[in-house]
């Protein structure tokens, strides 16, 4: 095989491998992903056995520790549905009632189980929008 042909073959092989890997990557990402849902959406759509990324606020008065797990409820940002869940794993520092959280949950029977170590609490003050008092450019 002359050098030019050899190079072309190499290129084709390399590209095919890349395409194959990319396809595997893309396929598994859609399969392994967790859709992001609010509590009201979760209650409507959740199917047992699938994981979902639940976003919302920690409902006031819902946080209780029982043994090694943490019970709390997540409610919609704008009122409405509240979803109680049982969570095990690390709890971020900013976590408290009223804070926005993201947690991966799975529906088991009629309960929601939080995936271990998946709880993320949004930093409340870092990039907050302007406070309510008057603002003016100098």
């Amino acid at each position: 095989m002359n050098p030019a042909r050899k190079r072309k073959v190499r290129l084709v092989v390399a590209l095919s491998a890349a395409v194959a890997l990319a396809t595997a990557l893309i396929y598994t990402s859609f399969n392994a992903s967790s859709p992001a849902l609010t509590p009201s959406q979760l209650v409507r759509q959740a199917q047992p056995g699938r994981t979902y990324t639940l976003t919302g606020k920690v409902a006031a008065g819902s946080v209780h520790r029982n043994g090694g797990a943490l019970d709390f409820s997540v409610e919609d940002r704008v009122g409405g549905t509240t979803v109680p869940l049982v969570y095990t794993g690390s709890v971020p520092d900013p976590f408290r009632e009223g804070r926005e959280v993201i947690v991966t949950v799975e529906k088991q029977g009629s309960r929601y189980i939080g995936e271990r170590d998946s709880l993320i609490t949004k930093c409340p003050s870092k990039f907050k929008t302007a406070p309510a008092h008057q603002k003016q450019n100098a």
Binding site: A32, S33, D93, P94, S125, T129, A138
Partner: protein, 711 residues
């Protein structure tokens, strides 16, 4: 003073607009004086932005709460160091930092290239000023760092306690330097394409800045991981978070570029690839800047992404295609068995890694666009693809040193691989015999690291031997001389050594860590990873102003934990939870003193073989403690509220409720930081300019060869 700052921003914007016009006119018409004027605009921009930044910095140091950013992120009780650094903790301040750093680095780049590459530099000036102008316009119209409120509030909100750690304060300037430095090769690359001068010269000029970007990004990433591990309460150093990924992606393409540019230098190969890498690194850096900004900038991000990003990338694509004649490679690969080919493989793996991370990071947007439902992928998905690629990368870094440039001799290569392969097998056997649990990926990584370390060791030994044969120096001198005269090669080897050590640390600490989360009362203990952690006694401190670490907490409740192994005392850990005052008064006079963000102060004992990590979450909600708070709320005015905390602390010490503990024993974590430092050191060795005597000797020899050829 705020007026001065804002006026500086306006002036800066005007300078940008002028500079773009002057540079473009200068290059189109060939009038050098306009090019020079455009370059000087960048210097002027740096000057003006320095004044603006100084105004903001002074405002923070003087607690001038008229400035909204000062009132939002600082307070009288924030320690001075954090006040100075709080400038870039807000959206507006960080935009100013970005623009300022961009102007500084751009000034340096244009100053260093002022006598060369006039056309390329003109286009680069216009592009850099374009980026700068965009960020300044964002500040002027959307996120003004000099916005004020009259009358000024008496006290500010204070710096977010989570940020009150030295590491976290140096992290943004490092990272932003990396991002802004990465835009310089981007600008020069586009300039080279626009002026049709894609030759050896622009590459050489750009190399230094690509390298500096790589260095600063690397430091920033390392600092971020270190902060996450040693300050945050989750005990990990990498979570495949969007913000972490945003800084890793340009670092990966930057690493690829540092390798592939050598191929262009030597064989004139991969011109298209190099230009694309440079542009990708710069683009990823800018995307990274936007990704870490949220809130107000979300809409801008969407606007910027769709309206500006897509045309920008299209423009680059059109440029590359229209200049493809100039970008044709001068040579091809001579042989598959060559260092060039290993470098190519390394590039493919790095870009592949970057693609995986890109896909996972932006998946929410992609899935929303494709399926209408926003979904995200978690760390397990990332790990599945990055771990094998990382293994491949480490393997290649051990293979490269053994293979010669251009065409290696097969017999020699085979012979040179004997020791490294033996090293890999020996590592594996030793580990298995030592009873290390059979985690395939970790063992594979250890073996690959063994391969690399042996290969590099062999290189240093052989090189020293060769040098001694030539110059007859004793071994230490020979080694030093060898490295000094071949900085790129041996500096590069040191970098690879550091990476191997880093990956050893990563593999060990992720596959073999022991963690335990449980509730303990004083006197009880937990068994974690062969160690016994005993909760000896509670601790409590009340600080009216500054605590020992100057984080500004009002009260800290914690524990003293004795760690022992086989009955021998190993370490004493003192984790605590710091409570901060909140600005709201809704929690009562006493309650508001501790109703702010609670921050976990972890306690760690680092060691060469393992780290002992502990965190505590005291039960502040325990009825006996809350009773004290509510009584204090009812009876004490705010000036005396601190007294209630003293009662609370005393109660906690006398009758401590069981607290929630989190213990982690991770092996070999320290080697991650050590490896990172080695990488940085090796990088500095590689980039240091070579002594000029070497050049002269080669010159003389070549001239002699020429003379011989003529004769």
């Amino acid at each position: 003073m705020a007026g001065l700052g804002f006026a500086c921003l306006l002036m800066a914007l005007l300078v940008c607009v002028y500079g773009i016009g002057a540079s473009l006119y200068g290059v189109r018409s060939g009038r050098a004086e306009f090019t020079a004027s455009g370059r000087r605009s960048v210097y002027a921009l740096a000057g003006v932005l320095t004044v603006a930044f100084a105004v903001l910095e002074v405002a923070f140091l003087r607690n001038d709460f008229v400035f909204n950013t000062v009132a939002d992120t600082s307070s009288r009780s924030t320690p001075t160091f954090y006040r100075a650094a709080a400038v870039w903790s807000s959206q507006e301040g960080s935009l100013l930092l970005w623009a300022w750093l961009l102007s500084l680095w751009s000034s340096l780049a244009l100053f260093l290239t002022r006598r060369r590459m006039r056309d390329i530099a003109s286009y680069a000036t216009a592009i850099l000023l374009g980026f700068g102008g965009f960020f300044i316009a964002l500040m002027v119209f959307y996120a003004n760092p000099f916005a004020t409120t009259h009358p000024a509030p008496a006290e500010g909100a204070g710096l977010d306690p989570l940020l009150r750690f030295p590491t976290m304060m140096i992290h943004p300037p490092m990272l932003y330097s990396g991002y802004t430095l990465a835009t310089i090769p981007l600008a020069f690359g586009m300039g080279a394409l626009l002026s049709r001068r894609v030759d050896a010269d622009w590459l050489k000029a750009v190399r230094r800045f690509a390298f500096a970007a790589w260095l600063f990004l690397g430091v920033g990433i390392l600092l971020g991981a270190r902060w996450s591990y040693s300050e945050l309460g989750w005990g990990g150093y990498w979570g495949w978070d969007a913000v972490e990924n945003a800084s890793l992606m340009p670092w990966l393409t930057g690493t690829a570029f540092l390798h592939s540019l050598m191929l262009q230098e030597k064989r004139g190969m991969l011109k298209v690839w190099n230009v694309s890498l440079v542009l990708a690194t710069g683009t990823l850096a800018i995307m990274g800047t936007f990704l870490v900004r949220s809130g107000v900038l979300n809409s801008i991000h969407a606007f910027g992404g769709a309206t500006l990003g897509v045309p920008f990338v299209t423009l680059i694509g059109v440029l590359i295609v229209s200049r493809r004649d100039m970008l044709r490679s001068e040579h091809r690969l001579d042989s598959l068995l060559s260092r060039e080919s290993i470098f190519l493989a390394n590039n493919v793996v790095l870009v592949g890694l970057c693609f995986v991370i890109f896909w996972g990071t932006y998946f929410p947007l992609i899935s929303a666009a494709v399926t209408g439902q926003e979904s995200s992928v978690g760390p397990p998905w990332f790990d599945r693809y990055t771990v094998p690629l990382a293994l491949l990368l480490v393997l290649l870094s051990g293979l490269g040193p053994v293979i010669a440039w251009r065409r290696a001799t097969l017999a020699n290569a085979r012979r040179n691989l004997l020791m490294p392969v033996a090293g890999a097998l020996l590592t594996l056997v030793v580990l298995l015999l030592a009873g290390v649990p059979g985690r395939p990926y970790a063992l594979a990584m250890f073996s690959c690291a063994g391969f690399v370390l042996t290969s590099l060791g062999q290189e240093f030994v052989r090189g020293t031997r060769a040098r001694r044969a030539m110059a007859g120096e004793p071994a230490p001198q020979a080694l030093l001389a060898l490295v000094r005269r071949n900085r790129r090669r041996y500096g590069g080897y040191v970098v690879h050594l550091g990476m191997a050590v880093l990956f050893i640390g990563v593999a060990a600490s992720s596959s073999f860590k022991h963690a335990s989360e449980l509730s303990l009362a004083p006197g009880q203990s937990a068994r974690v990873g062969g160690y016994e952690m005993k909760y000896e006694r509670p601790t409590a401190t009340v600080t009216p102003q500054f605590d020992r670490e100057h984080t500004g907490s009002t009260m800290a409740l914690g524990a003293e934990v004795n760690v022992s192994k086989d009955g021998h005392h190993v370490a004493t850990l003192r984790p605590s939870q710091g409570y901060y005052a909140s600005g709201e008064s809704s929690a009562g006079t006493v309650g508001s003193l501790i109703a702010g963000q609670a921050v976990s102060h972890i306690s760690m004992s680092g060691g060469v073989t393992r780290d002992l990590w502990s965190a505590i979450q005291p039960d502040i909600g325990a009825p006996v403690l809350q009773r004290i708070v509510s009584t204090g709320n009812k009876t004490l005015p705010s000036e005396d509220a601190l007294v209630a905390l003293l009662y609370l602390a005393r109660e906690y010490l006398k009758h401590p409720p069981p607290a929630q503990f989190h213990f982690i024993v991770s092996p070999l974590v320290m080697w991650i930081w050590i490896g990172g430092l080695i990488v940085l050191g090796g990088g500095l060795i590689a980039i240091w300019p070579a002594p000029s005597t070497v050049r002269r000797r080669v010159l003389a020899r070549s001239r002699a060869a020429r003379g011989l050829a003529r004769a």
